[in-house]
């Protein structure tokens, strides 16, 4: 008999109070594994026909089934990728609209899971911008103009279109310590540590399905820029761990990918999340470590709320539009609620000073949602804008 994920009252209370515990974050992550598998199944239902896309999808699906037969937990890494969430939601939107879904990209996702474990496989995968993306790991150059290329792993080495890429054990994200390989670009991986607390996060600069935020993804970072992101993240982490350790620990458990954004102007600082990609957030270049630390805390509240709303609806569908303190127009209650989250679930004293003190759900942010009147304040301290992609 099929059961559903359970949400203990204690976990709900912990999330509402911002008092994140490892088991609460694990609960949200586990639910995302199931959600992504569920969405994959929904997409599989539509991936029929002899075109290359659906054909590649089914080959990837079969490969995943084979990996799960050998190891029931084989899909967990794949279903935990925010990259998969971004792609799956894109597919579902296209299916809803009756437009062409990118079925074939799932072959790249399945191939990434297989490469990561050294599983033997042979798949045709799509080429985008002259490269084959293996989400969560890196990318391989594809010679020529072909739209598809054959990836093959014999359990020892990976080849792409007949060219040797390398030993599968070396095809990992680039944490800055690896020896360069001519036919492999590992996704930048930032490893930071402070006060005995470590965090590993991908700096995603290539995945098309994580390039769906309010600003474009910063691609093609120079070595200096990449070093800058590593240094800034390390400094921000030291601030968080040093002053707000309670906030840092769950971020290490719940955030696995960060997307650098290209700002519209030199003075804009923008950060964004989407519930389509649980575990990821996007940000333009943070001007200083404290701002980045604050951004991490802020965006993580949105990530958690997205995971919670997947489990249980917190607002009724539709309903009247209301004013929120940070919006000049009326919006749906669900959007106002999502926008308010960082305020009620973050330390109300700010990151840079004060004692950590999780705000209660009944704090000023929820009171600031005004069903009948106009905006209570036109300049809230932390405005959040909610919009549909």
């Amino acid at each position: 008999m099929l059961t559903t994920h359970l949400l203990p009252e204690a976990a709900f209370r912990a999330l509402a109070e911002g008092a994140d515990r490892p088991d609460t974050i694990r609960l949200l992550r586990d639910a995302q594994l199931s959600k992504h598998q569920m969405l994959l199944y929904a997409i599989a239902d539509a991936a029929s026909g002899a075109d290359p896309g659906p054909t590649a999808f089914r080959a990837g699906y079969d490969l995943l089934a084979r990996m799960q037969a050998a190891d029931p937990a084989a899909g967990h890494w794949l279903f935990g990728l925010p990259h998969l969430g971004g792609w799956a939601h894109d597919c579902l939107i296209h299916l809803e609209q009756g437009t062409a879904a990118d079925f074939g990209h799932f072959a790249c996702l399945a191939a990434a899971a297989a490469v990561r474990t050294g599983t033997a496989f042979e798949l045709d995968v799509p080429v985008r911008g002259g490269r084959v993306r293996l989400p969560g790991l890196g990318s391989v150059p594809a010679d020529g103009q072909a739209a598809w290329i054959r990836l093959r792993c014999d359990g020892h080495v990976l080849t792409a279109g007949g060219h040797l890429v390398g030993d599968w054990r070396l095809l990992v994200p680039d944490d800055g310590s690896a020896t360069a390989m001519p036919r492999w670009s590992g996704t930048p991986l930032i490893r930071v540590a402070a006060g005995g607390l470590a965090w590993n996060v991908l700096l995603e600069t290539g995945d098309p399905y994580l390039d769906r935020y309010t600003l474009p993804m910063s691609t093609g970072l120079s070595a200096d820029e990449l070093r800058g992101w590593r240094d800034r993240t390390q400094s921000a982490w030291a601030v968080l761990v040093g002053h707000h350790r309670w906030a840092a620990r769950p971020i290490a458990d719940g955030i696995s990918a960060m997307v650098p954004l290209t700002p519209g102007s030199d003075t804009d600082m923008v950060s964004v999340t989407t519930p389509a990609a649980f575990g990821a957030f996007a940000t333009s270049w943070p001007p200083d470590p404290v701002t980045m630390a604050e951004t991490l805390v802020h965006e993580f509240q949105h990530v958690k709320l997205g995971g919670l709303i997947d489990l249980v609806p917190l607002t009724r569908p539709g309903g009247e539009k209301v004013y929120a303190a940070w919006r000049q127009v009326r919006d749906r209650q669900a959007a106002c609620f999502r926008g308010s989250t960082p305020t009620w679930a973050s330390p109300d004293s700010g990151v840079s000073s004060g004692t950590p003190r999780p705000a209660r759900m009944t704090s000023c942010a929820l009171r600031s949602i005004s069903p009948a009147g106009g905006p209570r304040s036109s300049r809230p301290p932390r405005p959040c804008c909610e919009r549909a992609a």
Binding site: L2, A69, I93, V270, P317, A388
Partner: protein, 56 residues
């Protein structure tokens, strides 16, 4: 009231130990219902983005 009684059922079926090639065996079940529910939500809300912007 014990802790079990306070556990809330959610809208996400627990598929962690079910391989993808066995999902079809679940047939017209809670899985299909959950998918329909999720797609309805997506239809209504699209994919929301929570964007924070500051002038610095």
């Amino acid at each position: 009231m014990n802790s079990q009684q306070r556990d809330q059922q959610t809208q996400i079926p627990d598929l962690r130990n079910i391989p993808v090639d066995r999902l079809a065996e679940l047939g017209s079940s809670a899985l299909a219902y959950s998918i329909a529910l999720y797609r309805e939500r997506l239809r209504e809300n699209g994919i929301p983005l929570s964007s924070f912007q500051a002038r610095i």
